[in-house]
């Protein structure tokens, strides 16, 4: 076991998979010599060579398109998109190609590309370095969508993603790269060293795709969330003093419906939280799924707490971000409703 922050855990996952499988290659902007603007690939080019850790032209569509081609030729590519905000120029290659190749060729062809990309606020990056576009990708059948909330899961899920023959879009919440964040902007940052999931095995292990994690067991309320908000939810539940069952979705699509609905059937109340904008966010699907399965167990409407339906404004990160206060208000609302 070692102490790792999420960046180190991701780097370790990449290192281990590259060591194990010579077909794994990495491609992205600034990933090679420099090691990535968030340092996730630091040292990998030195170790595995320029032909396996490849600096790319600034063309997200090209990166995804070219890695698809590599995947068709037996490689197992990991594409890095520098910021999730910049994945859109590659959107067509994801939707029309990556997600569909296996289907349209009736299983003859497939390309096991994993797309890693940092998402969410946290670096005061303004509206073009803070987006969480995961919902959009969950609407596309044929790709898996993953977002870890801690170093342990990040490494285990990333290894699974790369080894999976399905294409995966792997969102990394950059706000918690260096430490868990409980949603209170006033408090100093903590580091992963103080968190049990900052303990990460040095070697190979996997966390399976498609399974949610019950982060905290509880009886009064289920909070379904993922990414940064897992930590905020824990803090908010403590703040309100409610015995909440907190579920980290982790794999957004395909979704582990069972873990979610079993919990809600037990607690009878549900809050759903994410950082992305609310309208047609992934929370909508979570609400829809839960109410379909658990309607007769629900004692209160399912509440959504999410980013506002605005871009992420530079000056108002903290007003935009669904922090402790907002989650706490949401929890109270769910608990009080009857």
């Amino acid at each position: 076991m070692a102490q790792m922050n999420m960046i180190e855990a991701i780097r370790s996952a990449l290192d281990i998979v590259m060591e194990k499988d010579p077909n794994v290659v990495i491609m992205g902007e600034d990933v090679g010599y420099f090691g990535g603007v968030f340092r996730c690939t630091d040292g990998l080019q030195r170790k595995y060579g320029e032909h396996r850790v490849i600096d790319a032209p600034i063309a997200e569509g090209g990166i995804i398109g070219a890695t698809i081609g590599m995947g068709l030729n037996g490689l197992r590519p990991v594409a890095e998109i520098q910021f999730a905000d910049y994945i859109y120029p590659g959107f067509d290659q994801v939707v029309s190609e990556l997600a569909r190749i296996r289907y349209r060729s009736a299983g003859e062809f497939f390309s096991p590309v994993t797309i890693r990309t940092p998402c969410g606020g946290g670096i005061r990056g303004g509206q073009t370095h803070s987006q969480s576009p995961e919902a959009i990708f969950t609407h596309i059948s044929g790709i898996r969508v993953v977002m870890p909330s801690n170093p342990y899961d990040a490494k285990g899920l990333l290894i699974s993603a790369i080894e999976s023959d399905d294409p995966v879009v792997f969102f990394e919440p950059k706000r918690i790269y260096n430490g868990p964040f409980d949603g209170d902007p006033e408090k100093p940052a903590v580091s992963w060293a103080s968190h049990p999931k900052g303990e990460v095995p040095r070697g190979y292990y996997t966390v399976p795709l498609g399974s949610a994690d019950v982060v905290e067991e509880g009886s009064e309320l289920t909070i379904i969330t993922y990414g940064t908000l897992v930590h905020v939810a824990q803090a908010a539940a403590a703040l309100v003093g409610v015995n909440a069952e907190i579920i980290d979705v982790r794999s957004l699509s395909p979704l582990d419906t069972t873990t979610l609905t079993e919990s809600v059937k037990k607690t009878g109340r549900c809050l759903i939280a994410h950082e992305a904008t609310r309208f047609s966010g992934f929370g909508a699907e979570l609400v829809a799924t839960v109410q379909e399965e658990c309607f007769f167990h629900l004692e209160a409407p399912i509440e959504r707490v999410a980013g506002w339906d605005t871009p992420y404004p530079h000056a108002f990160e903290w007003q935009y971000f669904p922090g402790q206060k907002r989650l706490a208000a949401g929890i109270r609302k769910v608990m009080e409703a009857q």
């Binding site: 081609g69 590519p77 029309s96 349209r104 419906t257």
Partner: protein, 411 residues
Amino acid sequence: MSTKSRLHIPHPSARPGDKPDFSYLNLAPAGSADKPSIDAKPRDIEHLSMNLVRVLDDEHRAQGEWNPNLDPEKLQVGLRWMLLTRVFDERLWQIQRQGKISFYMESKGEEAVSIAQGMALRAGDMCFPSYRNTGLYLYRGTKLVDMMNQCLSNTKDMCKGRQLPVLYHNKEANLFSLSGNLGTQYPHAVGWAMASAIKGEDHIAASWLGDGSTAEADFHHALTFAAVYQAPVILNIVNNQWAISTFQGFAGGERRPFAARGIGLGIPGIRVDGNDFLAVYSATLWAADRARRGGGPTVIEHVTYRGGAHSTSDDPSKYRPKDEWASFPLGDPIERLKKHLIAEGHWSDEQHIEVIEEYRVKVGAAWKEAQKFGTMTDGPFLDPAGMFDDIYAEIPEHLVKQRQQMLELES
């Protein structure tokens, strides 16, 4: 708003009712283009993108440095495959008109591109074709009946009923799955070729798209990545003058040939008479050798003409002269190779008619066979349960549930 617009709008040289006019094509005489060595610097061979590589002259003789000097037998093979492609297309078109398949796209007039290139490439080379490369699927061994099964979406359909007719694939034959989206296969070819280079293999990749599709982003991405990493790839632009109703000028073809699109990135371009089997073969071999020996990518523009409608949904008489193809100065690739072989004494009109007849029978037989596996109206039908397969490597729970629901509703 002022009325004096200064916006330039490209105009085709002729619209319905006008006399066809191909004077805009800058045609060089056969044999006039020089053939550089395959290790020539891109900078030194830029003129190839402006010129026109032609081998067959007006007397149907092979001329100049680009003459590949192919055995007559090989040429006959080429002619036969082009004929099979034409016959196949004609029959399938007819079948669509009879309402037996939902849609069809033919490659009439562009057969040389698929067959000559198919013959110039090696079996291990990977192809990322467009929907107008029917000949390539045939030449590389896709059975007639399998192509028809695909068009019928029947029980033997290689695509399991998921794709529009003509969107074939053939994994064994290194033919990628066709997409309905224009140009998306271009960066795949580059990535595939990069992987080949990474692995130190000498397979190359080739891709095809139309003049109109060069405007898409993927075209740019493919050229950029190919140039940066010197990927062993041939990037073919099949300039058949039209993109549905829009003339190639709307893709920026008015001022420079498409073959020149890569020269700003240092990618050599060859403009070739796309209806000249020998020229296409020769240019492809040159580019393939170059790529295989580490010389990087080549853009090849095939100057040709879309002999038919865009697809069965299209009516070209609405936007171009009916007789435009007949006036196309580069003619019909089949006629030209046929006349060459006849001129050289290796073919005859009788043989030609015989082969066509033979192929009609063959295609007819395949059609009979294909129908046994089901048509749009008559069974056997594909099991719709299959629509939930192959979305992921393994079917996930929610799709199992949806499949169940669907089957209950259907029963």
